[in-house]
């Protein structure tokens, strides 16, 4: 048999390479990951237009978007924006097609949960209340009257 001259940690190339599970002191954290890392998704709901492009492109149907007419005609009120991480394959297509750039990959990777239902991340604003609806209607009327004044 070949006498194998492997040396115990001699030289830089033969050091231990194991990294413990990321803990903030000894090893890599989420911040050390490359900038393009595709971690858990996050939607900044204020910028989201509810265009549903992400829902259409998703290869595994893990995004569910529901919207209602919002205060601004160009932008709808996103009532439901659920990302089901139990189905997500982190392909990044949804982020690519997002026109307003509200959907982004964070660098978070700790996605473990005790229950499958915990894996669904909800970013929606919830259904529009009657109070909001009357307020928007009032505002729109005011805006129209302003325009008429001008």
């Amino acid at each position: 048999m070949t006498a194998f001259p492997y040396l115990l940690r001699w030289g830089d190339l033969r050091k231990e390479v194991t990294e413990g599970y990321p803990d903030p002191i000894s090893s890599k954290t989420a911040d050390d990951l490359p900038t393009r890392s595709r971690g858990l998704l996050f939607n900044e709901i204020d910028r989201c237009t509810g265009c549903k492009a992400c829902e259409e492109v998703c290869p595994c149907h893990c995004i569910r978007v529901e919207e209602q007419p919002g205060p601004d005609p160009s932008k709808s009120w996103v009532t439901v924006f659920d990302v089901d991480f139990s189905r997500c394959i982190f392909c990044g297509l949804c982020v690519e097609v997002c026109q307003p750039g509200s959907l982004v990959h964070t660098r978070q990777y700790e996605g473990a949960a005790y229950d499958v239902s915990d894996l669904v991340a909800s970013f929606g604003r919830g259904p529009v209340t009657d109070e909001q609806r009357t307020k928007w209607a009032l505002r729109r009327k005011l805006g129209e009257s302003d325009g008429a004044l001008k």
Partner: protein, 359 residues
């Protein structure tokens, strides 16, 4: 069969509060239990820790580091974890029977295990050969254990182990004779006395034939007891560890510990036969013995023996970790066609050397 040098047992017996006049068999039974609990079991734990750390170092890993400082408590954690395993519902009485036969055969060698000049329970002309009896029973036990498991890995594993044992025992026995030729006796004490503390007084360097005999003895021991890297019968990749594939929990730990013990006692015997046994420099031994510090001497001898044993075991583990596992047919071929002729040649050579010296 209890040797005359068992005074230390009596001393221990007194220390444990055994009244005087207790029959010798109680003393020896107590001694066996004492050796098992306070020598073999800690050695098993230590060795498994060393093995894991060594292989981690070799493999650019960290190894155990969570349980205790530097992971030293890992063996205990492992044991506790194995004990927690849930029992399987069906009870295979054949498997239990053969596992207990196998285990008893293995630990019966404790009685002949040489652990120092004052810890020789059985010290006769035959004592060197007694471990072989146990190794053969062990192989039989393992084979029947495998056959009783009703699974293909068990069958193949058991039969492979048996084939290896048969192939390995012949060269091992022959090379064993070489040491007896040199010391003129097969008593443990005589074998130890023919050597000395300095490496130049060890049997292994006495003449080239003894070196050959040493190599043959170590390798055929690996074949005989199916120890890595010559452990085709327990191969993980094709038959899932052979006999051990159907053992679990308590039984698995018993089986694993048995395998460790086989390896351990083979290394101890190798050290005693070839690597200077427990011999310490006479400047150290005589004052201690004269000064009545027999117990301290026994302890130092044991420690020195164990250090050498561990070094040998770690060397073998190192080789096993780096090299690939050999195939069973290649192992048996190797044992019959290579090891056996070499052991015979070594025996002839060693006899000639011994005869030369006698004239």
């Amino acid at each position: 069969m209890i040797s005359a040098e068992n005074s230390w047992i009596v001393a221990w017996g007194e220390a444990f509060g055994l009244p005087e006049g207790v029959p010798h068999w109680i003393y020896s039974a107590a001694a066996l239990i004492f050796i098992f609990c306070f020598v073999i079991v800690p050695c098993g734990g230590l060795m498994s820790y060393f093995e894991r750390k060594l292989s981690a170092d070799l493999q650019a890993r960290v190894g155990p580091n969570r349980a205790g400082p530097a992971g030293i408590l890992q063996p205990i954690a492992d044991l506790l974890k194995l004990l927690q395993k849930e029992a399987r519902s069906e009870w295979n009485w054949k498997e239990s029977l053969w596992l207990s036969v196998h285990t008893m055969a293995l630990f019966s060698t404790l009685a002949v295990l040489p652990l120092g000049s004052m810890a020789l329970l059985v010290n006769t002309e035959m004592s060197v050969f007694l471990p072989f009896w146990s190794a053969l029973v062990l192989a039989l036990g393992t084979m029947l254990l495998g056959l009783s498991q009703n699974s293909v890995p068990g069958w193949f594993g058991g039969i492979r182990v048996a084939a290896q044992t048969l192939a390995g025992s012949f060269p091992a026995l022959i090379s064993l004779l070489c040491t007896g030729v040199r010391s003129g006796s097969f008593r443990w004490s005589a074998l130890a006395e023919s050597q000395g503390f300095s490496p130049w007084d060890w049997t292994v360097v006495a003449n080239p034939f003894q070196l050959v005999a040493f190599c043959v003895f170590v390798v055929s021991g690996l074949v005989l007891l199916a120890i890595a890297p010559l452990d085709g019968g327990l191969s993980m990749s094709d038959i899932h560890g052979g006999v051990s594939s159907h053992l679990y929990g308590m039984r698995l730990s018993l089986f694993r510990f048995g395998r460790f013990y086989g390896f351990f006692f083979w290394s101890v015997i190798t050290v005693v036969l070839f690597l200077g046994a427990w011999d310490l420099p006479s400047q150290l031994v005589i004052p201690l013995r004269m000064g009545g510090a027999g117990r301290l001497l026994a302890f130092i001898e044991l420690a020195w023996l164990l250090i050498k044993t561990f070094a040998l075991m770690l060397l073998i583990i190192w080789i096993a970790k780096v090299n690939s596992r050999s195939r069973v047919d290649q192992i048996t071929d190797f044992a019959w066609k290579v090891l056996s002729p070499f052991s015979l040649a070594a025996l002839v050579g060693a006899s000639l050397c011994a005869g030369w010296r006698a004239f």
